[in-house]
C-alpha cells in the first residue's frame, strides 16, 4: 500500500545506518522477563565481539533480575524475527550477520522467577 497524497510523496527513511557514526542499532529482549518494561535499544559497533558487548552492556542492564546471575550466553536460545538463530558470541556482530536494527531475543528455559 502507499500513502494517499496530493503530490508525489517519496519514501525517505531517517533511521538508516549512515546516521550512527559507524555503529548500528541492535535491540535486545529477554523472553518472559518482564521486570524490564521494554526491549533495550543499544548501539554497538558491528565489529565488536557479541560476548564482549553482552558482558559490558547487557549483563549490567539485566543484573537486577533474580535470574540474571544464572544466564550463560553460550547456552541461551536466540531468536531473530520469530526464527531461531545461531549466534557465535565469540564472533562479532557483523560476522554473525547481525544487522542494523535487528532485534535479538534470548530465551532461558526454566527461568521465569517474576513472570509466572
Amino acid at each position: 500500500m502507499a500513502v494517499v497524497a496530493l503530490k508525489p510523496y517519496p519514501l525517505r527513511p531517517v533511521d538508516g545506518i549512515e546516521h550512527y557514526h559507524g555503529d548500528q542499532l541492535v535491540y535486545w529482549s529477554w523472553d518472559h522477563h518482564l521486570m524490564f518494561a521494554a526491549p533495550f535499544i543499544t548501539c554497538p559497533s558491528p565489529s565488536t565481539r557479541v560476548v564482549d558487548f553482552l558482558e559490558a552492556t547487557i549483563r549490567p542492564l539485566i543484573a537486577a533480575d533474580p535470574d540474571a546471575d544464572r544466564v550463560d550466553w553460550t547456552c541461551v536460545e536466540w531468536i531473530r524475527d520469530h526464527e531461531p538463530i545461531a549466534i557465535d558470541v565469540g564472533k562479532s556482530f557483523s560476522e554473525n550477520g547481525i544487522g542494523h536494527k535487528d532485534l535479538l531475543r534470548f530465551r532461558t528455559p526454566g527461568m521465569n522467577t517474576l513472570c509466572g
Partner: protein
C-alpha cells in the same frame, strides 16, 4: 479538621514557565503571555503533509515575509480566548439591547421604504463579503506561523461570521428572508458587486498567509469598514433618517476601529523586521489596493452616487497615512 490555607505564606519555587522567564525575565507572567507564547510546536515534527510533502506541518516558509522570531508580533489588545470572548460577550449584550430597542419600538418600520431599500441594497450582499473574510482569516490561522500572529486571526474569522450573522438579523428585521435572497443575487450577478466578489474569490485562492492578511484585513477591510459603517451608515444614512440602522451596526463600527489597531501593529512589526519584508508588503499593497478601491467604489455609490469617487479618494488618503505610520513606505 478544616485547614485554613490562606494563612500560609509560601515562597514560590519559580515565577513562571521556563519559556516565559526566558522571554520576559524571572517574574510572574500575564495570562496573555501564558496563553500565547511558544505554544505551537516548532521542532521534531514527525511527518510531512500529504497535501504537499515539500511543506512542513508548521511552515514559516509558506510566506514570502520572514521573521527571525514570529513571536515579535503581538496583539495590542492582548486577546487570548477568554479576554476575547468576554469582550465580545459584552458587545453582544449591547447589540442585543440595540436590536431589542429597534424592534420593540418598531423603529425600522418608521423609515421611508426607499431608504430601507437602499440600506438593504448596501448591507445584504456584505453578508457574503464577511463570509469571504471569515474564510481568509481561518486560512491565516491554519497555516500562519506562531500563535501571537495566528490566534487573533481565528478571532477575526469568528468576528466576521458574527458580522455576517448580525447583517442577516438586520435584514430580517428591516425586511424578510427574501431581502437576504435579493442580497445574495446581487452579490452573484449585479455589476455593482462583481469587482468585490472577484476580489474576494481571488484572495481565497492565495496560500501565503501574510499576503492574505494584507489583502483582506489591511487593504480591503481598511477601505470597506470605515467607508460603509463609519461614513455611509453612521453619517450619511443616519442623517437621512436611518439612525436606527447605525444602532444595529454599532458592533461593526466599533469592531472596525478596534481591529485596525491590531492590524496596524502586526503590519508595523512585519515591516520593521527587514527591507525584504517591506518590499513584500509593498508589492502586495500595489497588487491589491487599486483593485480594492475599484471594488468598493460602486458599493459606496449605492448611497453617494456621483460623490462616491471623492469619498473613496479621501479614504485612500487616510489609508496612506495608516501605512506611513506602520512604516510601510513606497
Amino acid at each position: 479538621m478544616q485547614i485554613d490555607l490562606r494563612t500560609v505564606t509560601i515562597e514560590p519555587q519559580r515565577h513562571a514557565y521556563d519559556h516565559l522567564e526566558q522571554r520576559f525575565g524571572a517574574k510572574p507572567a500575564s495570562r496573555y503571555q501564558e496563553a500565547s507564547y511558544d505554544i505551537q510546536a516548532v521542532e521534531n515534527l514527525h511527518y510531512r503533509p500529504t497535501w504537499d510533502p515539500e511543506q512542513q506541518l508548521y511552515d514559516p516558509d509558506l510566506s514570502r515575509v520572514r521573521m527571525r522570531d514570529w513571536y515579535a508580533i503581538k496583539d495590542p489588545r492582548q486577546f487570548y480566548y477568554s479576554s476575547y470572548t468576554l469582550t465580545r460577550a459584552r458587545q453582544q449584550d449591547t447589540a442585543e439591547a440595540n436590536f431589542a430597542f429597534v424592534e420593540s419600538r418598531g423603529l425600522s418600520a418608521l423609515m421611508p421604504g426607499e431608504l430601507t431599500a437602499q440600506v438593504l441594497a448596501l448591507l445584504m450582499p456584505l453578508r457574503h463579503a464577511a463570509w469571504g473574510a471569515n474564510q481568509n482569516n481561518t486560512l491565516i490561522c491554519g497555516y500562519g506561523f506562531g500563535t501571537t500572529f495566528t490566534q487573533p486571526c481565528m478571532f477575526q474569522a469568528m468576528d466576521q461570521l458574527g458580522i455576517a450573522q448580525y447583517l442577516s438579523r438586520l435584514g430580517l428585521l428591516l425586511g424578510d428572508p427574501e431581502s437576504l435572497g435579493a442580497g445574495k443575487r446581487a452579490w452573484m450577478v449585479d455589476a455593482t458587486w462583481q469587482p468585490l466578489r472577484h476580489y474576494t474569490e481571488d484572495t481565497m485562492a492565495l496560500r501565503d498567509p501574510v499576503e492574505v492578511f494584507v489583502a483582506q484585513n489591511l487593504v480591503l477591510d481598511g477601505l470597506l469598514y470605515p467607508l460603509v459603517y463609519e461614513h455611509l451608515v453612521d453619517d450619511v444614512l443616519s442623517a437621512r433618517g436611518a439612525s436606527c440602522v447605525a444602532m444595529l451596526t454599532q458592533f461593526m463600527s466599533e469592531w472596525g476601529s478596534e481591529t485596525r489597531k491590531w492590524i496596524d501593529a502586526v503590519t508595523k512589526t512585519l515591516a520593521a523586521e527587514s527591507a525584504d519584508n517591506r518590499a513584500a508588503l509593498c508589492d502586495w499593497i500595489d497588487r491589491w489596493l487599486p483593485r480594492a478601491a475599484l471594488a468598493v467604489l460602486p458599493i459606496v455609490a449605492i448611497v453617494l452616487g456621483d460623490q462616491a469617487q471623492s469619498a473613496v479618494e479621501d479614504q485612500m488618503t487616510d489609508f496612506a497615512g495608516r501605512l506611513g505610520k506602520a512604516g510601510v513606505t513606497r
